[in-house]
Symmetry: C2
C-alpha cells in the first residue's frame, strides 16, 4: 500500500506538501477514531491492526481510516447519487447488505463506529438464519447472494425453472442468472425477484420510519441490474409505505460503482483526521 | 393556551423580557420549521393550523413548536435518562410506539420532520395489520395496547387465563392487567409479556444496526411496569443481538414521565426558534 502511494505521487508529479492526507476505506469492524482494524474476516491475521499509524508512519502523511461502506456512502454524497441530499442512506447489495448514512452533510458513524449495517435489520422475526447469529436479517432476503440462494432453494424444493438443470448440476448461480431467467420469462425467477425486491422495499420503509432521510441509494453488485431493480423496489415501496404522511424517500441507483469507497475515503481525508490522529502538522479536528 | 401562559407568567412573578421563548409539544404530523400542524387526529378540526404564528401572536413571545415525541426525547436528553448520551433513542410505549432521536446533542428530525416513528418499523413481513396501512409494524406487537390485545385474542382463541372471565364479559383490559396476571402466575400472561418484550428487543436491535446509538430509553405508559419490562427487554436483546461486534446499546427506563415533553419543548425554545420564525427580535438560528 505504501509503495502504491509513493508510485502514485511520482506518476502524478504532485508535490508531497500539497497532499493534505490519504484516505483508506477498510473492512470492519474497526474504529475510525483510533484508526484501528479490530478484525478483517477476509484478511487472515488482521486482528487489532493500528492501520492508520502503521500506514502513516510508512508514507509520512496523515491518514484517515474509514469503514469501506461508510467511505462509499460519503463518496456518493460528495460526488455521486447523493449530491446535495439533506440526508441519505447508501445500501450496498452484494454478498450481504452493507451501508452508510450521511446526515446533514456528515457521515453518521454512531457510538461504536458501526452505523449503517442495514443488512442486519430484522424484517422477519424467527425468519431465515443469518451467519451473524440473528434470524430474519434483511440481507438473507434481499442481497445479491440471497436472490440466487432463494431461487436455488425453491428449485431444490421442486419448483420448475429454466435454471433447474444448472442447479441440479451444482453450478454456482448468481443474481445475474436469476435476472436473465426472468427476462426469458421464467416464472420462478420472476417470483424470486419480486420476493427479494419487496423485502428490500420493506427494509427501506423501516429505516425511513426511523431516519426520515431524503434519499436511498442502491449500490453494490445487485445494483448493476439497473432499471429492473430500481423499478421493482420503487413499486413495492409505494405499496408498502404508509399514506398517512408525505415522507416517502427518493430511491436512486448509485453512480460511482466500485470507485465510491476510494473517492469517499479521499474526501474524508480532505476533511481532516480525527483529533486523536497526531501525525504531521496537517492533522485537523474531527471530521464528524 | 395563551391564557395559561399569561397566568403562569403572573404567578411566577417573572419579567416577560426574561423569557426567551415558549416551547410547545404538539401531536403530528407537523412541520417544526414552519410551526404548522398538518393534522391532529385527536383534535378535531385541526388541519393545517399555523400554531406557532397564532400562538406567538397571542402571547407576544417567540414560540417553538415541536412534535411531542421529539420534545419528550429532547427532555430526557437534557434532564432525564438521556443525559450525556452521545446518541439516544426514546421509545414511548403507549397506544402505539412513538419516539425521538437525539444524535450528537441535536434532535434529529429528518428530512420531513418525521424521524423516530419506531412503532412503524416492520418486524414481520405480512404480519399483523396496522391502522397506518402497513402490516407487521412493531407497535402491533409491543405497544401497551398490543400487550393487552394479544392476550385478549389468545383467550378468544381458546387459551386459558385467569383473565378469561373478564374478557368474556367484554371488560376492557390494559397492559397493567396482563402484568398483574403474570405476577399471579398466569402462564398466558407470561407468554404474552415474553412475546411483546421480545419483539420490542428485536425492534431495538434493528434500529441499532441502522443508528448505532449509545442508549435506548423506554418511556410511555408501558414503562410504568418498571423492572419487569426493562429486565425482559434486556434479556431478549442479549439473545437477539449479534455477537460479532461489541455495539449493543444501553437500555434504560425514562425518568421524566409525562413531563418529558414539556421540559423538552422548553429546552428547545431556549435553544432558539427555526430561522423562519420571525416573531420578535429574540428569534435565533435554527435549533438543528
Amino acid at each position: 500500500m505504501a509503495e502504491l502511494v509513493y508510485s502514485l505521487i511520482a506518476s502524478a508529479g504532485v508535490d508531497r506538501r500539497q497532499i493534505v492526507g490519504v484516505g483508506v476505506g477498510a473492512p470492519g469492524p474497526m474504529s475510525h477514531e483510533q484508526g484501528l482494524i479490530y478484525r478483517a474476516p477476509n484478511l487472515p491475521g488482521w486482528v487489532n491492526i493500528p492501520l492508520r499509524n502503521l500506514f502513516s508512519g510508512q508514507i509520512g502523511l496523515p491518514v484517515v481510516v474509514e469503514n469501506d461502506a461508510n467511505a462509499a456512502a460519503f463518496g456518493e454524497f460528495k460526488a455521486g447519487a447523493g449530491r446535495r441530499a439533506h440526508s441519505m442512506v447508501l445500501l450496498t447489495l452484494g454478498t450481504g447488505i452493507g451501508g452508510g448514512l450521511v446526515l446533514n452533510g456528515k457521515l453518521w458513524r454512531g457510538r461504536f463506529d458501526n452505523a449503517g449495517e442495514i443488512g442486519h435489520l430484522i424484517v422477519q422475526v424467527d425468519g431465515r438464519a443469518c451467519p451473524c447469529g440473528q434470524r430474519g436479517c434483511l440481507e438473507r432476503y434481499a442481497s445479491a447472494n440471497a436472490v440466487a440462494e432463494l431461487l436455488v432453494e425453491a428449485v431444490r424444493a421442486g419448483k420448475p425453472s429454466i435454471l433447474a438443470d444448472r442447479i441440479r448440476a451444482n453450478e454456482a448461480l448468481d443474481a445475474r442468472d436469476v435476472l436473465d431467467a426472468l427476462q426469458q420469462g421464467d416464472a420462478l425467477a420472476r417470483d424470486t425477484w419480486e420476493h427479494s425486491t419487496r423485502h428490500l422495499a420493506i427494509g427501506i420503509a423501516s429505516v425511513q420510519h426511523v431516519l426520515n432521510a431524503q434519499r436511498y441509494i442502491l449500490g453494490g453488485g445487485l445494483a448493476k441490474a439497473g432499471a429492473p431493480l430500481l423499478d421493482a423496489v420503487k413499486r413495492h415501496l409505494e405499496q408498502t409505505y404508509w399514506k398517512i404522511a408525505p415522507d416517502c424517500p427518493e430511491v436512486v441507483l448509485a453512480e460511482l460503482g466500485s470507485d465510491a469507497g476510494a473517492i469517499g475515503a479521499a474526501m474524508l481525508a480532505r476533511e481532516g483526521a480525527p483529533a486523536s490522529a497526531a501525525v504531521g502538522s496537517e492533522a485537523r479536528g474531527r471530521s464528524s
